[in-house]
């Protein structure tokens, strides 16, 4: 270290660390809030395969490429894959979970707005990855 004073650097490091602690603590808190799905969430099995999504509702109804859900009701997706890694994504609702062969990953959400929302694949999965799309229809209950 040369002879000059180093206190501005320590103040600056202190500010940076304070911002980081704040970001870290806040995201820890929010992630903890959303970590567990509500008890009454309806389970929907989501299966990705080259290159489409299929869905199975709790009552056994099956859909391909389309998903019909009710507004204001919590849903828990059990995401799995039949071939390669895909990533199940409803961007408008920040639903995002990898479909990994050999695993069942879960993610949940509550649609709070009626309408149509795009479903897409967010992990590269081969030839038609760009068009591995579907539509979420949220209906008024």
């Amino acid at each position: 270290m040369s002879g000059h004073s180093s206190w501005p650097e320590w103040v600056y490091i202190g500010v940076v660390v304070a911002i980081l602690v704040w970001v870290g603590a806040d995201s820890w808190y929010i992630e903890k809030l959303i970590d567990h799905a509500p008890e009454d969430a309806e389970i929907i099995k989501v299966t990705g395969q080259q290159w489409f999504w299929s869905f199975e509702h709790a009552d056994g109804t099956k859909e391909v490429g389309e998903l019909h859900l009710k507004k204001g009701h919590p849903y828990k997706f059990e995401v799995q894959s039949k071939d390669v890694i895909h990533s199940f994504n409803i961007h408008d609702y920040t639903v995002m979970m990898d479909a990994v062969p050999g695993r069942i990953n879960t993610v949940w959400f509550v649609p709070d707005e009626a309408g149509e929302f795009p479903i897409q694949c967010r992990e590269y999965c081969g030839l038609i990855h760009y068009n591995m799309r579907g539509t979420l229809y949220v209906e008024e209950s």
Partner: protein
Amino acid sequence: MVLEIAKPRPVWQIMFSTHHTDVGLLYLITSIAFLFLGGALALAMRAELFLPGSQIIQDSMTFHRFFTVHGTTLIFLFILPFAAAIGNYLVPIMVRYKDMAYPKLNAVAYWMIPVGAALIWLGFADFTWNAYPTYSILRAPGPAADMWIFGLKILGVSSILGAINFIVTILKCKHPDLPLSKVPLFAWSTLIASVMILVAVPTFAAALLMLLTDRLGVSGFFNPAMGGDPIAYQHLFWFTFHPEVYILVLPAIGMMYEIIPRFSRKPLFSSGSGIAAFILLGIVGFASWAHHMYATGMSFTEKTVFMIGTLAAVPGSAMHVFNFFATMWGGRIRFSTPMMWSVGGIALFFAAGSGGVLNTAMPLDFITHDSYWVVGHFHLFVFGTIAFGSIAFLYYIFPFVTGRMYNEKLGQLHFVLAFIGAVIVFFTQHILGLFGMPRRVFDYPPFPEWIAMNQIATVGAMIIGASMIIFLINMIHSSAKGKEANMDDPWGIGGKYYFPHRVKTPHH
């Protein structure tokens, strides 16, 4: 001097030399050539994405091969060899030794690069530069995928050999009168990056072998049908390639440490804090790899651990930024081309780092992950910071290598266009990611916001492309017909340089 004006040497004498400045020149020319090749692929991809539907690329597979080879090329055939080039030129001079510790090993490490490069470019694989199983082991077409695996294997061995050479040169061959704490910061950055290579790269080398045997069907490390786990590969991959981010960025920061005090005409604010930040990044860089994998179904605890590890790396980067600004503060700054590139690089480094803090915040990661946000984010690092630092240093070392001066006006124009282009492309891609566009897509649905932002990004990319053409003309023209440089002080700013052209050891 390497390319002497007075006594030109035949090219084969440079090619078969083991002298550190000659090997440095080979590394330098190779890396710049691949910068242009990889960049051309990027421009083709941006042109394709200008509008929905197929534009200039006929099928999605070709597009997938383009982004795979683009990423692989620019990381392994531009950034790494460029750092090795500058290391070869300057590290022996900075530690006051006659050459690299093992000159022949040095040449061997260089000559593995063209072999690896040939395998990657002739194969032209499609499984992204991550090569995630199970796609890469079950569905990716051969022989391209296998050639990529062998190519990366060779490049990995090359960088391990280079790292051993740098570590021995710096620690064992440095002049006895030169304490380690007085070794210039560029040599320090090379030392830390080399140690990181030795720790990180063997993991990926193992993963590559497992990938190959899985592809051959004789093992099932990553194949769930044979009891394996595709996520295990992601851990091995990112254990190498998150530290790799620091392996790539540290030498670029080291280059800025060489340029900024010189053009500020002021001593470095604190060499101790720079060294401390290098060591800090070198250690903490290993604690954050799984932040690339939040969406693979990690538990809350795992995500928290890797978020903390990632955030812990930020103060080290922030110390470098502070050091640069404190050095410039009150200096008589000369904004010559190398200084402009360095300062621009720091600005984009700051932007990239701020975006990185948001990425690692767990809930936000699920918005940004695998979207165009991530593409914009890491390009601010690899292009905005690392390529900017490297290009800065290329202009800086140009007179010492060629004996001629580059065209200052064209150099500054190159910077202004590239900086504007980088902001347009990569900032727009961040926003595009927030609007939900996934990365690695050949085509996209005609949402008006997506079309508009893709068009803005393409225009920005073309501006960068134009700036790189100016760069190429400047380099070729100036090295052949440029003004002769004042080799004692090319910019007229005084001070002591590390002169590669004054190396006394004969070429061998």
